[in-house]
Symmetry: D2
Amino acid sequence: MHRNHYPKIWLSILVCLILPAVALAAQAEGSKKEDKTAIILASFGTTVPSGVEDILNIQRKVEAAFPGIPVRNTFTSNIIRSVWKKRQAEAQKWLDAGIPADILYVKNVISTFGDLLEEGYRNIIVQPTHIFFMEQSHDLMQYVDAMRSIRTIKEKWRPFDKIAFGRPALGTIGPRYDYANDLEKALETVASDVELARREKAALVYMAHGNEFWPSSIFIEAQKKMREMYPQVMTLFGVVEGSPGIDEVVEALGEAKPKFKTRKVVLKPFMIVAGDHAFNDMVGDDEDSWKNTLTAKKYQVTPVLKGLGSNDAFAQIFVKHIRDAARDAGIALP
Amino acid sequence: MHRNHYPKIWLSILVCLILPAVALAAQAEGSKKEDKTAIILASFGTTVPSGVEDILNIQRKVEAAFPGIPVRNTFTSNIIRSVWKKRQAEAQKWLDAGIPADILYVKNVISTFGDLLEEGYRNIIVQPTHIFFMEQSHDLMQYVDAMRSIRTIKEKWRPFDKIAFGRPALGTIGPRYDYANDLEKALETVASDVELARREKAALVYMAHGNEFWPSSIFIEAQKKMREMYPQVMTLFGVVEGSPGIDEVVEALGEAKPKFKTRKVVLKPFMIVAGDHAFNDMVGDDEDSWKNTLTAKKYQVTPVLKGLGSNDAFAQIFVKHIRDAARDAGIALP
Amino acid sequence: MHRNHYPKIWLSILVCLILPAVALAAQAEGSKKEDKTAIILASFGTTVPSGVEDILNIQRKVEAAFPGIPVRNTFTSNIIRSVWKKRQAEAQKWLDAGIPADILYVKNVISTFGDLLEEGYRNIIVQPTHIFFMEQSHDLMQYVDAMRSIRTIKEKWRPFDKIAFGRPALGTIGPRYDYANDLEKALETVASDVELARREKAALVYMAHGNEFWPSSIFIEAQKKMREMYPQVMTLFGVVEGSPGIDEVVEALGEAKPKFKTRKVVLKPFMIVAGDHAFNDMVGDDEDSWKNTLTAKKYQVTPVLKGLGSNDAFAQIFVKHIRDAARDAGIALP
Amino acid sequence: MHRNHYPKIWLSILVCLILPAVALAAQAEGSKKEDKTAIILASFGTTVPSGVEDILNIQRKVEAAFPGIPVRNTFTSNIIRSVWKKRQAEAQKWLDAGIPADILYVKNVISTFGDLLEEGYRNIIVQPTHIFFMEQSHDLMQYVDAMRSIRTIKEKWRPFDKIAFGRPALGTIGPRYDYANDLEKALETVASDVELARREKAALVYMAHGNEFWPSSIFIEAQKKMREMYPQVMTLFGVVEGSPGIDEVVEALGEAKPKFKTRKVVLKPFMIVAGDHAFNDMVGDDEDSWKNTLTAKKYQVTPVLKGLGSNDAFAQIFVKHIRDAARDAGIALP
């Protein structure tokens, strides 16, 4: 018999699988079909437990803003999901450590859409927790467009009705939303970083991600904007991939105008999550970590190991972008 | 803390979820990345346990033909999946009754793709267990095309490499494969139905599904072909939806040429599964079931409650169509 | 100099090209941008001058129904357009013979869209002059979908705003419009054909096109419907490609019920145009033309060499389908 | 009669239209179907006659590189095409002035594809004459993707077989071709600009286009690269739209390091064409033209009114990119 293909272990496993579905079914009954909207919070992901908190903070803000609307996390990085998959072997340990189940068992984008379809959500808002529209957002949008493209003979069997796609924190390409305005709004939320640097009489150095195959001046423009908005402190942006790297940051520190001359640096990731890049590239023990590079140049470095996600005002940006995307797509939100 | 949102029950549930993933990971290691191919057997689905066996028979044939290639069932009907979802509340009962776990917990197409992505399958062959290219195949193809459409900036992050889509049992629209030839090959597999009717000196009446919004002569052509291939027996096709219905079948029986005149009918579903339509529309207690309609007209009816899926030669057609689709898509199979 | 690549002949040719553009520009000024709607009447095409009149009759009906909206003909057949291209060498002869310039210089679908874009038409209604949704409509829809898919960064540079696609005369696949209803409405328009056959005490035999790779029962259903609607006459449909062919028509004539027994046949194309198929396959001199086949079987044949396009009531169907498609796409029409 | 709708003027016009078609048909006969490849050179366009020469120079290079392959110009700007359309009223004047007919009668992208389809070209290489992948290339790619998306039931009726899309001069987004490498190769071609500035003991200021809704550091990177490649001269890039504008260029000139201090500027468009932007924004009489802005700041300006298209080595880049795109798409070229 075919069922013999399945080892006994499946029996207990599968019994377990029932409950969430039942719970969800119950939840679903309370709302009318036309109301069934869900939000997918799509992050690149992180394996660093403290970094998870940066993402959870955004999730909490979004949940608070849209009561009754489920907010699902998805991690787009295959590698990061595979790390969590291995950790599932010691699930209790991770759950006890405060990792929510939906992070420990985090799913890919396709499966997350599949789950929501199964639970009867027809309107989906996908909100990337990305800094700007670059590779990650481009690729994610491809998944969103794929889901949008499914057209059935009978309209009622279409898996989804409306799918909205929110723009990243600093905005996106195109004329619909002025990214210069988004950028300014976002930079208003980092005033406390500037204040810290000012108190320390330090320069503020942000480590952004960057890339090598998509030229984007967003961090150059951010740096210029920071100087206008916060003229009291010299803010510099460097990137892990592409240019300007830490060497150029060091060079710029050296060439600072007299009023900005300082031997002190507040060093902070300009990333949603203080994760692998923050703990390794930024403050790791390697000689060429940013901290060690700066220290070798006689700078006194104050690292801040917090992602932008844990900045409440910054996290709130995603609430705004969800609201905009939903409105543009004709999805009603509370 | 955010984790408090999750009730304690999740803990045990989620521990259970680990094991399949671990098993799958182990399975995956044995094969090189370029070999990772999986087959999705996409059925409309059935809630009738004996009907499930029709689908499992196809699955077994496919698994036997392609050793080492996982074959996943998906049911495309939302309604049918929701019935199974309710049954999950009494999972052990269903498992004990021989329902495999992957039917009891059957997933939608999107989630099935999501699972395979997660397990690292880059080449996917979707084989519908459909009779002919009609609404079901059209809609399924939309999902397949959506998955194909996802293009990432870096090729290596594309979720899937090659996705093949097999044609239904009686073939498909278009010149790539001659459906007349597919039809003939398929009808060769039902010789035993004819033989049964011949022995019984009965007419052979097939109940097909049909539809009301996509004119297709496939069953009219099948009927004509049956008469050529099996001239000893009068074969008639009727459809549940659209035309010709049972009334026209009755009329045709009445107008049979002298050599075919008979008061006996072998009545069988021309569907993959002997499911709801077979048990209700065909032989149900309602006055207007096909059996009762024929009986009322003084025909002696021998119903056969077996789907085409349980006909081994018919099931084998899908193996052939998988092989063709894989070859056309450049996917190597064992 | 590069301009020397162009022979002198170009100079006079190109001067000629100015005028239509100027005329169109003048025409365009009178209407506001949001009003600029054009209709493309897409036919397979014909090389037979009298057949052209079948298409022109439809065009006249559409132009009369939507005053002020330009109606452009396009022929989708590469072969037919290439015949007209050769005839352009004797343009005056053809123009004198009453062939309109936009037929003699008929363009493909892509160029027709290109022209309309150039003239500032942002809303386009494509109306196929097809009998039913089969290969021709499928392929045409691909072009329409391609034009619809073009999305520019700035909305204002999108080449087209709304593109509607009308359904063929006998309807289309899917639930939006019930094809059984469309079929009935269409068959109401051929009452005069039936009347002719009735007066002649003849059977009415329609030659439809058909195909060999897309099973469709539309003509089988049409035949059945004709018998219901016009019980006084035996109507038979045969097809040039696929089944039932003329042999089956002959067989059916032979097996006619007593009240329909006749040696007379009214033979007419069930095609938009009485073109190549009508003049060759239907009434050509070849032994196996339908007329000769019937004559050889001792039937007295009255051929009618008129396409459905020249039937005013039938032509009017396309006006209705344009109106439906425009409404569904949100395009206002007069 | 319908033909009466057409004024007499059409008769002579249309006779003219024959000849190109006849010529093209003749040309087509010499090559086998599988060889029929054409190149579309897609430019934003220009209305400035001397600017046309910049485009023609690229066309000549491409024609010389691929003998026997037709190279068609298309202008993507609706506004620019509409200017040429008005000029067609004085066609002879423009033709006498050396404007080639295919510029005077320049078509949009869709019509250009339509023409090539009509003439039997199945393989099309679209090469934008763009500087970098920004709005123009994005939008153009949408048209290309639309043409690629057309799939007919029978493969042989697909309008096009292979469609390649070449990357802009300085490269494109994504990992297929390293834009840093493309950038370097492109900047090697402007050595003579640097040499001119060096001889004049001037700074070299390039006016690029830029934009306000797609942050791109390509010109910032270009400026940095120029300083590495040509350390003897200070090269600055400013943009017409977005940032850095002329004010920032002036500021940078003022802050030049001692060895670069100069009151002289060589001012040149970093655009394919020295067109409207060059003649107005760069050297126009308005007080805020770049030249006047610099002059007001006491700089001595030497403007160079040549587009990059007229730089033979730069024009040759497009030959290379056509070759790469064709190879990637599997199109053979001479």
